[in-house]
């Protein structure tokens, strides 16, 4: 009996917490299918005639496909370049215990992003790089690179150093050992850091808002298209937000299982 009560309380707690966490999401999802009148109705309408007009606006009136491409290009390049620079950096930090360097890189992450914006704005304008992919990719790398370096350096720490030592005695240079032995074992770590840094870039609002204009506008900024002086088109905002979130959620769900998988098993005694 006691056990049943315990279990009931447990599930009650789960439901309550889930409701609190998921409510904004569910509100957004339902609002995206409502008319403006239904959205602002009081008391709130939980039963309503669903409409697709908001989505029609997002993909019809607005050029969301273009914003989608912009976000993908910026995110892809920022993450890709962060991997190219960050993987060797993380490896060096891990193997040569460069704690100060690691801290320095973290510092970039700790400082409020907004403090970089003013200098960037000036630099990028003078270089004529405003509203270009270059400016956006570089600014997003400010966050993506520390994510890659921090996740990967602790991941490399978990790989026994004897693996490269063995490869080096076997005839490899350190660089080749990194390439042929360490990287192929680092899949889970790389997927984790790619997922997290890509989602960051995908969701970033502040950097993109300041550094992009119509040509390179990314998705989160495009949501703003539904906000004007006269009124806020809540249905359009909600539908756009759902459309933006969908790829991120799908991406996370796909890679979640890879992230958990440990590939190092069998390398050493175990």
């Amino acid at each position: 009996m006691k056990k049943v009560i315990h279990e009931a309380l447990f599930y009650l707690a789960v439901i309550v917490i889930s409701l609190v966490v998921l409510f904004p999401f569910l509100w957004m999802l339902s609002s995206s299918f409502k008319t403006q009148t239904d959205i602002i109705a009081w008391p709130p309408k939980f039963i309503f005639d669903p409409t697709l007009q908001n989505y029609a606006k997002v993909f019809g009136e607005q050029d969301f496909l273009k914003y989608f491409i912009n976000s993908t290009v910026v995110g892809g390049l920022a993450v890709g370049l962060s991997l190219v620079l960050g993987l060797p950096a993380a490896y060096s930090i891990s193997r040569f215990t460069q704690k100060k360097l690691a801290l320095f890189i973290l510092l970039a992450r700790l400082m409020p992003g907004i403090s970089f914006l003013m200098p960037w704005y000036i630099i990028f304008s003078r270089l004529g790089l405003m509203d270009t992919y270059v400016a956006l990719v570089l600014s997003h790398m400010l966050i993506a690179l520390p994510i890659v370096v921090w996740i990967m350096s602790s991941y490399f720490n978990s790989i026994p150093v004897e693996l490269e030592e063995s490869a080096m005695v076997d005839g490899a240079t350190r660089q080749y050992a990194f390439w042929a032995i360490i990287l192929p074992m680092s899949g889970p770590g790389i997927i984790t850091s790619v997922t997290l840094s890509f989602i960051f870039s995908w969701n970033n609002f502040m950097f993109s808002q300041v550094l992009s204009m119509e040509k390179t506008k990314t998705l989160p900024i495009a949501v703003y298209n539904f906000v004007s002086y006269a009124e806020v088109d809540w249905g359009g905002v909600m539908a756009a937000a759902v459309a933006i979130m969908a790829p991120a959620i799908v991406l996370t769900m796909i890679f979640q299982k890879f992230v958990v998988k440990g590939l190092t098993m069998g390398a050493v005694k175990g």
């Binding site: 490869a167 005695v169 076997d170 074992m185 069998g266 390398a267 050493v268």
Partner: protein
């Protein structure tokens, strides 16, 4: 195949001195074991031979070439690590072929050499498996196979058996020794286990705190240990040691500080040692039971452990622990009072620890 000369090699990490001037000449084809307690610098020395640690001072030569500045890949040595360090994303065959591929060996020759090594080690059926699908002993064999295929000038082993269970360890010990007899390549083997050292080595290098304590064949170390440390380290159970002075007057014997008097046979070798502070060392297997105090020293048996082939008696002599090992059968029981006498003993200087005499009674 090659000789390895280690000449006055030193190693410091920051301010900590790990090796304080080590010299060892290893002959071509020899099986040398570096042994000592943890922290003695044996693994560091091995890693310096492999090129994985820099050399602070001194010289290491492989063959007639100084290798101090050579990268590991240019030294033509193969190393087996304690945790095997198998590449988890490669099959057994790929693990073994890795070094040959790096050397751009023709495919046909790689296959042939991998097949041969697999045959020697009994891995032929496992070639397409990944390391995670292997048992500890099989992983150990793959690690050795990876070394064998290369046909290196020197094999280096860093405590390769310490992750295996006791039974497998004994079996692998014989296998490695057999492998050495078959390949006749120089092998340098690091372990903290003196039994491993004794059973496998042509010569043993006993190390402590960055210094070489003694170099010699297994029986040489057992019979004539250079000092107290080697005497205590080699042999199991360890040598009994009593501090005290030698008396050669009315009665010859060793007056230990705990109060025990060990009667010893008069010998010319004892001349001149009387009165000096010494340590009497008696191995457990060099003790016999005698009739009374005129022949031996009194002990009380505390624990009697028969194993069939021999019986180990742990006893107390005036507060000092004494262990005796008998191959013949005695009806000793716990609490019995016995008189024991050495059949063979060593004397060491109490100050320096150096051996001054070894005498058979």
């Amino acid at each position: 195949m090659a000789s390895v000369d280690i000449v006055n090699v030193k190693k410091s990490f920051d301010r900590a001195e790990i090796l304080r001037g080590v010299s060892v000449e290893i002959r071509d084809g020899e099986f040398v074991v570096l042994v000592g307690p943890s922290g003695c610098g044996k693994s560091t020395l091995l890693r310096m031979i492999a090129g994985l640690e820099t050399i602070t001072a001194g010289e290491i030569r492989i063959g007639d070439r100084t290798v101090n500045e050579l990268a590991p890949r240019d030294r033509d040595v193969a190393m087996v690590f304690q945790n095997y360090a198998l590449y988890p994303h490669m099959t057994v065959a790929e693990n073994m072929a890795f070094s040959l591929k790096l050397r751009k060996t023709p495919k046909a020759e790689i296959d042939q050499r991998v097949a041969r090594a697999a045959e020697i080690l009994g891995l032929t059926n496992l070639l397409s498996r990944r390391p995670r699908a292997l048992s500890g002993g099989q992983r150990q064999r793959v690690a050795m196979g990876r070394a064998i295929v290369r046909d290196p000038r020197v094999f280096l082993f860093d405590e390769p058996l310490s992750n295996l269970d006791a039974k497998l360890r004994v079996a692998m010990r014989s296998e490695i020794k057999e492998l050495h007899q078959r390949l006749k390549t120089t092998m340098i083997y690091v372990t903290h286990d003196q039994i491993e050292a004794m059973t496998m080595a042509d010569r043993i290098v006993v190390m402590r705190e960055g210094n070489v304590e003694q170099i010699g064949g297994p029986l040489e170390l057992y019979d004539t240990p250079a000092n107290l440390f080697v005497a205590g380290f080699i042999g199991s159970p360890a040598m009994n040691m009593l501090k005290g002075t030698l008396e050669t007057g009315a009665r010859t014997g060793f007056a230990a500080e705990n109060g025990s008097f060990v009667p010893l046979p008069p010998s010319a070798a004892l001349d001149g040692l009387a009165g000096r502070r010494l340590v009497l060392g008696i191995r457990p297997e060099h003790i016999r039971i005698v009739a009374d105090a005129t022949e031996g020293f009194r002990v009380t048996a505390r624990i009697v452990e028969p194993t069939g082939s021999e019986t180990q008696v742990s006893a107390i002599a005036d507060g000092a622990d004494v262990i005796a090992l008998f191959r013949e059968r005695h009806s000793v029981r716990q609490g019995d009072e016995l008189w024991l006498a050495p059949t063979h003993f060593h004397l060491f200087d109490a100050e320096s620890g150096a051996r001054v005499a070894s005498i058979s009674a």
